[in-house]
């Protein structure tokens, strides 16, 4: 009888120790063994993107720890998990006749790069103490990298597509436009799309199709051009592009930006602004910049 009680007490103590041990482990460890989370660190958001043909997951964290502690944590844990640190600065050092600018080296050293098989893991830090709340903000991007040349074959859009979809569709989406950014709050949202089309058909599309979603146009800022030649005269373009021939530099001056804004409201008092901007480098072809961004801002009436 006495022995039985001893055994029971022993089992209870043993189980208690196990429970306490499990509890003391970081939650992140048992959630996803491949991606550890340092202590005092909270996930803020998660998103999936398609970057140049490859799919990547981005997880945003806020931490009370300093950036160096977080870097040490990941160096140790990821190396133990079979990841190899990739040092871009070291690789750049192998390039003949190339000396990296110290500021650029500093910017690059803010990030951590790891590789495992075909997978790539990138940890980017917002510089410390920038926001006054003293928190360290970092992002982990993880995905599979492609062999050289494959990205061009697999990417049909802009190479910067957001794969998450908005919870609420408030406005029509311009055909073939890629969603590149999304912020959703309780009573408002901001979505950004990109298309290779010019600004005119985009403006026309929204003017014609917003009514299908119950919106009435109340204000319109028509398409306006911004010529950059005056702004660019301030810069020594030959210094920006030392390998450019003079005629190529002149191409810079032919860059043009266009803007338009449409303001809509619905009978419920909600508002929806469509801000459209396009950038054209003057001539179509490889290396040129030609795209139109569409920003959809929705505000619910409160």
């Amino acid at each position: 009888m006495f022995l039985r009680n001893k055994v029971i007490v022993g089992i209870i103590l043993f189980l208690g120790t196990i429970v306490l041990s499990i509890n003391s482990l970081e939650a992140g460890w048992w959630e996803d063994l491949s991606l550890p989370v340092p202590p005092s660190t909270q996930e803020v958001k998660k998103e999936r993107r398609k970057l140049a043909g490859s799919e990547f997951t981005f997880i945003y964290y806020e931490s009370s720890l300093g950036a160096s502690n977080i870097k040490d944590f990941y160096r140790q844990r990821l190396t133990n998990a079979g990841w190899q640190e990739k040092n871009l600065l070291k690789e750049a050092g192998n390039i003949p006749n190339f000396q990296i600018d110290p500021n650029v080296a500093n910017a690059l050293s803010q990030n951590l790069n790891f590789e495992k098989d075909k997978e790539r893991l990138f940890i980017n830090f917002l510089p410390e103490n920038f926001a006054q709340d003293g928190k360290t903000r970092f992002t982990i991007g993880k995905g599979e990298t492609l062999k050289p040349g494959q990205a061009q074959k697999q990417d049909g859009g802009f190479g910067f597509e957001l794969l998450d979809k908005p919870k609420k569709e408030v406005a029509p989406v311009y055909p073939k436009a890629s969603l590149i950014d999304l912020s959703e709050q309780e009573h408002s949202s901001t979505l950004t799309y990109s298309t290779k089309d010019d600004i005119e058909p985009v403006v026309l599309f929204y003017k014609n199709n917003m009514a299908n979603y119950g919106w009435n146009l109340i204000e319109e800022e028509p398409i306006e051009k911004k010529d950059f030649s005056t702004d660019l005269e301030k810069y020594d373009l030959a210094q920006v592009c030392p390998s450019c021939a003079k005629n190529k530099i002149n191409l810079l001056k032919s860059m043009e930006m266009q803007f338009a804004r449409l303001k809509f409201t619905n009978p419920g008092g909600d508002s929806c602004d469509i801000v459209i901007n396009s950038m054209m480098s003057g001539e179509a072809g490889a290396g040129s910049l030609r795209f139109t961004n569409i920003l959809v801002r929705y505000d619910e009436q409160r």
Binding site: N94, T145, Y235, S243
Partner: protein
């Protein structure tokens, strides 16, 4: 009267105390009138103070709410910056990977070309360099789109925050005025209902101030201080409600509320301005065209160098092959590789320039600068050049000051015919009150803490 009593003081023993009583009664009457007047004045002072306190707290709370909303929106703006920066930095990291790979392979191709043993292998290295550089160009195109979208989104979010901050101030002013007039005791002094109407005709022939003597008019007047859509409406510096009561006495209550404009913001912005980013992006685009062109030319020349093997084999076929072939090969490869060195050199130089420009872009998007924005440029967003990260602070004293003044015409006692004033005027003095409210609380715009709270910090002495 005193003489009469004095002369007759020995005639009768009665009425000795009468003069004393008369004097006392007069004093008591005067004292009573003074007391009533003082009571009335203190009531007016109480009403005036209540109005100032109510307005200050009401406007202060509205401002605190507005600043709390700005803090929350600012936190979203910071998150949006962070999210876009991280994705762009990640893409730049991947693009730099491609560029560095292209450079390493290109350097290897350059080194391999003049050596007979590795001439053809140089083509494979160069092909990998071309493929990696193509990936780099693709990613840089994506980055250009992302940065432009990022700039607009941050600008637009900031513009919205400014717009709402301005609206918040106007709402606070309206809330302050409404509370001040509602708490100023006007309602209790007015007649119940609306001004009398003649059936089938316009309102009775009452002046504006006479119409104001009715509570319904007063309520409607408060409601109409500002329209619901305040965006394009300017709130006045002060408002006054004046009315004439049934005895045609004029009463006036005036309120002045001061809240600093919310139009000076300190912002964290990226190192580079948008035009500078555009110059860099365009520089990267144009250099990439130059590099791609040079790489394509080099590819043809390297193929030519590799073609030396079959060409020399054909040329030296015969008995002199052993002596001819190596000499032919050396001369042929040297010629082709020397020719290839020029575009390979151009590509290498171009790629080194690209390293610098891409690195500068990565560095340039960091939020390392702080600017003060005192106004938004118009028209949207052609003039604003900074890429906004988040709001560090709003330059504002975080106070609401309210001054209220009440003036009430008293009753004309014993009016004298043909004269404006009566025998005894009972006009009350102008009564003013003052309240200062602080709405700082523990909130902080740049610290993302939405705990702004309003409290009275100063009032005038009673």
């Amino acid at each position: 009267m005193f003489n009469y009593f004095h002369k007759n003081k020995f005639a009768s023993q009665k009425g000795q105390l009468t003069p004393m009583f008369i004097v006392l009664i007069v004093i008591i009457v005067i004292m009573a009138m003074v007391t009533v007047n003082l009571g009335k004045v203190s009531l007016i002072k109480t009403d005036s103070s209540n109005a100032a306190d109510a307005a200050g707290l009401s406007a202060g709370s509205a401002m605190a709410n507005s600043f709390n909303s700005i803090t929350v929106a600012n936190s979203q703006m910071c998150k949006a910056y962070w999210s876009s920066y991280a994705a762009i930095a990640f893409s730049i990291g991947l693009a730099l990977d491609d560029l560095i790979l292209a450079q390493i392979k290109e350097a290897a191709a350059m080194g391999a070309c003049p050596l007979i043993a590795t001439t053809c292998a140089a083509i494979a290295k160069h092909t990998t360099a071309i493929a990696a550089f193509g990936d780099f160009e693709l990613k840089m195109g994506a980055i250009a789109v992302a940065i432009t979208a990022f700039y607009y989104k941050q600008y637009y979010t900031y513009a919205k925050i400014r717009e709402n901050a301005n609206l918040g101030r106007k709402r606070a002013l309206v809330a302050g005025y409404s509370s001040a007039f509602s708490s100023s005791g006007i309602g209790s002094k007015l007649k119940i209902g609306s001004p009398p109407l003649k059936i089938g005709s316009p309102p009775a022939d009452l002046s504006e101030t006479q119409k104001h003597n009715y509570r319904d008019e007063f309520s409607a007047w408060i409601d109409n201080i500002a329209p619901a859509d305040l965006k394009y409406y300017n709130i006045e510096n002060s408002y006054a409600y004046r009315w004439k009561d049934g005895q045609n006495r004029l009463h006036s209550v005036e309120v002045k509320t001061d809240i600093q404009d919310v139009d000076s913001f300190n912002l964290k912005v990226s190192v580079l301005t948008m035009p500078e980013v555009i110059v860099l992006l365009a520089g990267i685009g144009i250099t990439s065209i130059v590099v791609s062109g040079a790489m394509a030319t080099a590819a043809g020349l390297l193929t030519g160098a590799c073609g030396c093997f079959p060409a020399c084999a054909a040329e030296c076929a015969g008995p002199w092959f052993a002596a001819c072939y190596p000499a032919c090969l050396a001369a042929c490869i040297e010629a082709w590789c020397a020719a290839a060195d020029v575009p390979l050199g151009t590509a290498t130089t171009g790629m080194i320039a690209l390293d610098v420009m891409v690195g500068a872009l990565l560095l340039g998007l960091l939020p390392l600068r702080e600017v003060t924005s005192n106004h938004l440029y118009d028209p949207f967003p052609l003039g604003d050049v900074d890429i906004y990260a988040w709001i560090v602070d709003i330059n504002h004293d975080r106070t609401v000051t309210v001054n209220t003044t009440q003036e009430h015409q008293g009753k004309e006692l014993y009016p004298i015919k043909g004269r404006d004033s009566g025998f005894w005027q009972t006009n009350y003095p102008q009564i003013s009150s003052y309240t200062k409210v602080d709405f700082r609380g523990n909130g902080n715009i740049g610290n993302f803490i939405p705990r702004h709270d309003a409290s009275i910090i100063e009032t005038d002495k009673l």
